[in-house]
């Protein structure tokens, strides 16, 4: 009995939902498509509840750190930044109907911390990529040499300086992008979808149980 409720019914729910949504993409029947479009709304609503779990776990982790007096400053900064934003934004949204994306204080937090954080971490990549290129672009084998050559030519080809070095670099770049690059990317796309189909069949048939967590 317990096995049925714990394992088999969730699995059947998964299979039913999967075929239902696949049918919506492929078929054109008005009432069916309308039902499926409500279905996607249901899924989005359900999915967003998982955040409760994670906020609880994250808060618990950092409250414990503060209690144990390890990394007190960092953890309290995190808790304050999270809960002040959350409580104020939620209060304004739930009781005064102000959308969090338009709420002044929440927007200031966004502009002062989140947005510069995003762009800084993104731009730190410029340093990392230079270091990775310097460290790892070595002509060790034919494969590595091809990687290195294609990378360097494309790099030069995209910057105005490439054309100043040699008139052939831009057209060589274009050829690399048009032919080997298209081929390589197409294969990654193709092989990805083939693997994914096989994985999904595995899930539908119930062999892959990673998504169910523990064994019982």
């Amino acid at each position: 009995m317990s096995q049925i409720v714990k394992r088999h019914i969730p699995h059947m729910v998964l299979v039913a939902v999967a075929f239902f949504m696949a049918g919506d993409t492929l078929l054109l029947e008005k009432p069916y498509n309308d039902l499926a479009s409500s279905g996607t709304a249901v899924v989005s609503i359900i999915g967003s509840f998982a955040v409760l779990l994670s906020v609880t776990m994250l808060s618990r982790l950092h409250v414990r750190r503060v209690q144990r007096k390890t990394k007190v400053i960092e953890s309290s900064v995190l808790l304050i930044c999270m809960w002040v934003t959350l409580i104020w934004g939620f209060f304004r949204f739930a009781f005064q109907g102000v959308s969090p994306t338009k709420e002044f204080a929440v927007q200031q937090v966004f502009n002062a911390i989140v947005s510069p954080g995003d762009s800084t971490i993104y731009s730190i990549l410029a340093f990392f990529i230079a270091a990775a290129a310097y460290r790892a672009f070595r002509a060790r084998s034919v494969e590595a040499t091809l990687l290195l050559l294609a990378g360097s030519i494309v790099m030069l080809g995209y910057a105005p300086v490439g054309e100043m070095i040699s008139g052939y670099i831009p057209s060589l770049t274009k050829w690399i992008m048009d032919v080997p690059n298209t081929a390589g990317n197409r294969v990654i796309i193709l092989s990805g979808i083939i693997g994914i189909v096989a994985l999904y069949v595995r899930i539908i048939l119930g062999y892959e149980r990673g998504w169910m967590g523990r064994g019982d």
């Binding site: 969730p10 998964l14 939902v17 999967a18 075929f19 239902f20 949504m21 049918g23 919506d24 996607t40 249901v42 609503i45 999915g47 967003s48 509840f49 998982a50 955040v51 409760l52 906020v55 609880t56 400053i73 960092e74 995190l78 930044c81 999270m82 934003t85 959350l86 949204f93 969090p100 994306t101 937090v109 966004f110 002062a112 911390i113 510069p116 800084t120 730190i124 990529i129 230079a130 091809l146 990687l147 294609a150 360097s152 494309v154 790099m155 995209y158 057209s171 690399i176 048009d178 032919v179 080997p180 298209t182 081929a183 294969v187 990654i188 796309i189 092989s191 994914i196 189909v197 169910m212």
Partner: protein
């Protein structure tokens, strides 16, 4: 410009510098900025998620479709995870989310990512200035076929097949090199954007010294502390 805006820009500059300080080494200023960033991003993210879920739910509830409250009930099943005996209830929302993803992705991707890709490989001719467009199409088709064969898993790649998969991996590597090169461009553009902010934003130029001072304080504090155990 109001005091709050100035303060915002000061905070933004401080966060930028503190996060950049990671490049030198992991330090207290970085850790504080990191935790502030994670905290604020979580708070903001949860608010946005809550709002968009409510925007989906609200119009249905105002129409009197009260059974839509069931979605909230199913969503709350995630919290059963904290229970010792009923933890398995979380599998129901998971099954619904995963199932819908499977259905949507597979059916759509089979067209765009499988059939259309096959067709375009077989037919493409380039709108480009190169001589021999058909030669390039042929090279492309050979490349795709060889590289796809590289992923054929249940057969040893021996004899002539070894060369096929070798050619395939060469094409893949050239593609990866191209991706690397073009990404370098992307990253440098972003850095340019960030440096512009640091150099040219209105109050930033006189606030930067303040931010640098904060950073130095952070580093000094960090130096005075004993190195942490792993």
């Amino acid at each position: 410009m109001g005091a709050i805006e100035t303060l915002t820009i000061l905070a933004a500059a401080a966060i930028t510098l503190a996060l950049f300080s990671y490049l030198w080494r992991e330090n207290l200023a970085y850790r504080i900025a990191e935790h502030a960033y994670i905290g604020a991003a979580c708070g903001y993210g949860v608010l946005v998620a809550a709002e968009s879920a409510w925007r989906l739910l609200e119009p249905r509830l105002t129409q009197g479709l009260t059974y839509w409250y069931l979605t909230a009930v199913i969503g709350l099943l995630y919290l059963a995870f904290f229970s010792r005996n009923y933890f398995w209830l979380y599998r129901y929302p998971t099954a619904i989310v995963l199932g819908s993803e499977i259905g949507v992705t597979v059916a759509r991707s089979l067209k765009t990512q499988f059939l259309e890709q096959l067709r375009m490989t077989a037919t493409i001719t380039f709108p480009s200035p190169f001589p021999f467009p058909y030669l390039n199409s042929a090279i492309l088709a050979v490349g795709v076929i060889c590289a796809l064969f590289y992923f054929y898993a249940t057969m040893e790649h021996r004899g002539p097949l070894k060369y096929v998969s070798k050619i395939g991996i060469y094409f893949l590597m050239a593609a990866f090199g191209a991706a690397f090169g073009s990404t370098v461009m992307a990253r440098i553009s972003l850095l340019i954007g960030r440096l512009r902010f640091m150099y040219f934003t209105d109050p930033a130029y006189y606030l930067i010294p303040v931010a640098i001072a904060l950073l130095i304080v952070g580093i000094v504090l960090d130096r005075r502390k004993k190195p942490e155990t792993a």
